[in-house]
Symmetry: C2
Amino acid sequence: MNSSTHSPIDDRVQRSKERVLRTTSELLTESGLGGVSIEEVSRRSGVAKTTIYRHWATRADLVIDACSQISTKQDVPDTGSFEGDITVFLTSMATLLRTARWSSIVPSIIDAAERDPDMAQIHSIIQRGHAAPLQEIITRAARNGEIPISTDPSTMIAALLGPLFYRRWFSREPLDDTFVKAVVQNVISQL
Amino acid sequence: MNSSTHSPIDDRVQRSKERVLRTTSELLTESGLGGVSIEEVSRRSGVAKTTIYRHWATRADLVIDACSQISTKQDVPDTGSFEGDITVFLTSMATLLRTARWSSIVPSIIDAAERDPDMAQIHSIIQRGHAAPLQEIITRAARNGEIPISTDPSTMIAALLGPLFYRRWFSREPLDDTFVKAVVQNVISQL
C-alpha cells in the first residue's frame, strides 16, 4: 500500500526537479549565471521556492547541477584512418559550437571557474568531455602505428580544439568545413 | 583668473575618474561583471554615487570604459625571421595569459558579449589587439617571401593563438616554453 501511494508523489517530485533544472538551464542561456536567481527560477517554472530549496540548499548547488547536465556526449568516430577520425570529430564539434545550447553557456562557467572552485570542477568535467574522444583517437592511432608513438596527446588536442574554440568564442569567425580541414591539415602535416 | 581656479578642480575630477575606473577594474578581477555595482564602486573608491553617475550614465557605460582600458598593447617583434617573430610574440603572450589582470577578466567579457552588443564591441577591440601583431608578422613574412603568399592569416592566427587560449581558459594546462615551441613548430612544419 505504502509503495503504491509513494509512486505518484515520487513522479511529481521528479517532474518538478526536471522543470526546475530545465528553467535554470534556459535562464543560463538567456542571461548567463547572473540571470539565475531562485526567485526567477521559481517564478518561471511554477515550482515553489520552498520546494526548490528542499532539493538544492543554495543557488550555487542548483546552478552546478544544471551546468553539469548541459555538455554533449560525443561518440568516438572510427573511420579506419586517423585523418578521417579527427575530421569527423572536429566537423561534429564545429556544428555543436555553432548550435548547441552549452556553447553560449560555457563562457559563464569559465568566468565563474576563475573564482569558484565548484564551478572550476564543473568546467573541468565539461572540458574533459570535449577532449576525451580526441584522446582516444590519438591513443588508438599511436597504438596502430599511424602516428608517432612519441606524439604528445595534450599538445595535439590543443592544436585541434584550440583553433575551433578560438573562432567560436574569441574571433567569432565562421566555423565552416574549410576551416576544419585547414586545422586537420595543420596537425597532419607535422606528423 | 577663471582658468587658474579651474585647474585644481579639473585635476580632482580626473583623479576621481581614475580612482573609479581602477576600482571597477579591481572588482571585475575579483568577482567578474556580476560583482560590479555603482553602489560597491562608490563604497570602495570613496567617490560619491552622484559623482560617478555624472561621468557614466549607467553601470554598463562604466564597465565598458573600464574593460576598454584593460587590454595590453603588445609590440610587433622583428627578429629577422618569421619563426623568431612568432616565437617571441607567443612567448610574451603566454606570459601575459599567466600574469596579466585582463587574463582573468576576459571570460566575463566574453560571457557578456554573448548577449550584449556593447560588450561584444569591447571584446572585439580586445581581440583585435591580440591578433593585430600576428597579422603584421604574417603579412611581412609573406611580402618577404618567407612564407607562401597564399597563406591565410586568419587561419594561421587561429592555429597560433587558439592553442594558447585553449590552455589558459579551457584545459588550464601549463603555458610553458615547451608548449609555445610545439605550437610554433606545428605551424612552421606545414609551410
